[in-house]
Symmetry: C2
Amino acid sequence: MPMTDLPSAVTNERTEQTNTTNEQQESKGFDYLIVGAGFAGSVLAERLASSGQRVLIVDRRPHIGGNAYDCYDDAGVLIHPYGPHIFHTNSKDVFEYLSRFTEWRPYQHRVLASVDGQLLPIPINLDTVNRLYGLNLTSFQVEEFFASVAEKVEQVRTSEDVVVSKVGRDLYNKFFRGYTRKQWGLDPSELDASVTARVPTRTNRDNRYFADTYQAMPLHGYTRMFQNMLSSPNIKVMLNTDYREIADFIPFQHMIYTGPVDAFFDFCYGKLPYRSLEFRHETHDTEQLLPTGTVNYPNDYAYTRVSEFKHITGQRHHQTSVVYEYPRAEGDPYYPVPRPENAELYKKYEALADAAQDVTFVGRLATYRYYNMDQVVAQALATFRRLQGQPEQGNAE
Amino acid sequence: MPMTDLPSAVTNERTEQTNTTNEQQESKGFDYLIVGAGFAGSVLAERLASSGQRVLIVDRRPHIGGNAYDCYDDAGVLIHPYGPHIFHTNSKDVFEYLSRFTEWRPYQHRVLASVDGQLLPIPINLDTVNRLYGLNLTSFQVEEFFASVAEKVEQVRTSEDVVVSKVGRDLYNKFFRGYTRKQWGLDPSELDASVTARVPTRTNRDNRYFADTYQAMPLHGYTRMFQNMLSSPNIKVMLNTDYREIADFIPFQHMIYTGPVDAFFDFCYGKLPYRSLEFRHETHDTEQLLPTGTVNYPNDYAYTRVSEFKHITGQRHHQTSVVYEYPRAEGDPYYPVPRPENAELYKKYEALADAAQDVTFVGRLATYRYYNMDQVVAQALATFRRLQGQPEQGNAE
Ligand SMILES: Cc1cc2nc3c(=O)[nH]c(=O)nc-3n(C[C@H](O)[C@H](O)[C@H](O)COP(=O)(O)OP(=O)(O)OC[C@H]3O[C@@H](n4cnc5c(N)ncnc54)[C@H](O)[C@@H]3O)c2cc1C
Ligand SMILES: Cc1cc2nc3c(=O)[nH]c(=O)nc-3n(C[C@H](O)[C@H](O)[C@H](O)COP(=O)(O)OP(=O)(O)OC[C@H]3O[C@@H](n4cnc5c(N)ncnc54)[C@H](O)[C@@H]3O)c2cc1C
């Protein structure tokens, strides 16, 4: 562990400005080195700084925001370089916390799936079934329909089990099987139930992709929100920087690590599988290209989906920018792969992480959890309370 | 001077990646600490990094680019928060150097002055005179006109002298006197000739504000260009950071300072006068507000000028953003005030700067010079050659 001993006799210029403990008053350098400026790192930086701690936050990328970073592309369209990020949560706490750093634009994401030559609502709802099969069922009838096609599964273990036990094999094949195989490079029968359990099925005509209480986009984008979170004079932001480049000569007391946990321990137990993505960004000379924010392609093409940012951000522009997502085995780690053997391997790294007294592991990659943004915020807020010695409240979901 | 002694026995991870000298191979930390991420600091960071030096560049602002920084405002219009920055140069070297980091959009700035209820071309040209006085002179005749109204000045010393000796008192009063008094809080008779010498007078109809060989804007903005300049893995960027907050515990060998020179020496000889500005940014619900990029108000209002960014950047948008500039005595230092007594005071600071072996002073504020962007780039490139021990070539103009 790169951890620098701090001289204790040197007085510190900053102590007037910050609520420091005795120990800190005697130290030079930072109280916290935070690795990663995504949601996990930025929430902790903000909380710690506002409680008087001096924080250095580093990211090896040239920007803050982690995967939620947004920026204007060459055409002046606000895009999400790492794929579309839609904010949604049921947690009042998380929503109110983030509301300190941004105003919001109400936005409910809608997705269509390209199946059998039609664009049909996903999650599967009444309209999906009626339009796919040329039927005219009511809500009650579609419930009977699902019951009639559902397959009996003794114990729901895999992603395939989840879906066929709810909507039967034909809808499974048309909407889920191909998409999952593309997305994960694995058949749904090889993946945890958790993966498709995220996608509900509806008997009404609700075509919103998410059903959460709070669904909104930061009014001026994610990056602006992160800038506001990191604006305290107690926070120093260092970009283009892998923490290993500086941790042996910049003094700090405690590290918060939000990168991949296996990389932190030099892959000593082998690599934790992460799924990666390649993004193809395009700008078109037309005001609007897609009927909804995202169109899924479960069965055709090498990409899983196309998303058009202006739907999501509400920007007006004479051109439009879209992104195609190509799942990849190699590349930046994006998604922990939810399989039992991976959870096992993670447990071994988790034991090392728990034993590392001077380092706290937080976030999607550091805790190898398939978390959404709001869950990462909740996890970071809980971590802050733990660091402060406060009792836990709420949970990360 | 905050300068940390470096342990010499510790090997350095980064040495494989960089062309380091023996001395550096033994050092931990950075070869250079660069204070200020504007043109002066960023050019030097880029040059030093590309010659294998490890650079930490810090800025107390939350962004790179210094006063040339641009960004998208709340409405999604690309603006210059610190006032309109138009790039123009006669230096092929400077233009070619910057062209490594950006493509360009040809742009020739035009300015109108609001005088006697008309919007008239400035610098004063044939059309200005004809429209102001309701005349119909030719180029030859306007030259005679200027000669007939010009006042004889024994020795051209002040800004007033420059103008009245060229175009007479009426044009001086209408176009220069009020503007200069607002801009500098001083009468032109109290200012160096250099201030208005920048503004030529023309007998033809050329209404471009600048006459330089190269006139162009970075195609995707200044900030993008700076991002490209600072993208080397040898450069670490630290924002929100006054160098005094970190210089006593982050080890480095040499400092490059681009902030105000008087602040560096704790104002030991008193404050160097800088003129400041307050910017009022507005967005309007119309596609275009002004006929040209800038309109000057020499005689009316508290602001000197209004500029509309879409003229300058070429952006298409259904709204438009403009900035009003209010000159101020207090605030961020923007313009060194060109007066003989200030030059005297600067000389005293310059002597201290020359004596500071471990620090190099570069840029508009650190060398107290009323430099344009291209001149600062040229000065920084010359400084780099000097640091490398190469013979000087070219000059900073
Ligand atoms: C394509 C895609 C779409 C998504 N869509 C949504 C969505 O619509 N809604 C939603 O709620 N969630 C979405 N998510 C999930 C969301 O991106 C994550 O929950 C969130 O970004 C995780 O934040 P984090 O801080 O844990 O990790 P990250 O955002 O990944 O931040 C970690 C940071 O650590 C840095 N880092 C790693 N190692 C080092 C090192 N050695 N030194 C320095 N820095 C390092 C990385 O550069 C990175 O910036 C999506 C994810 C992806 C991949
Ligand atoms: C309103 C206005 C309009 C202009 N228009 C034009 C134009 O049209 N064309 C043109 O060519 N030029 C123009 N200029 C001039 C141009 O802005 C400068 O030439 C150029 O920006 C100077 O670059 P610099 O790096 O020397 O200084 P700056 O850009 O001022 O950068 C210095 C940086 O140092 C940082 N700093 C200072 N002290 C500290 C400290 N203690 N710790 C950390 N960081 C510190 C500051 O935050 C700043 O970012 C204009 C200037 C102004 C004010």
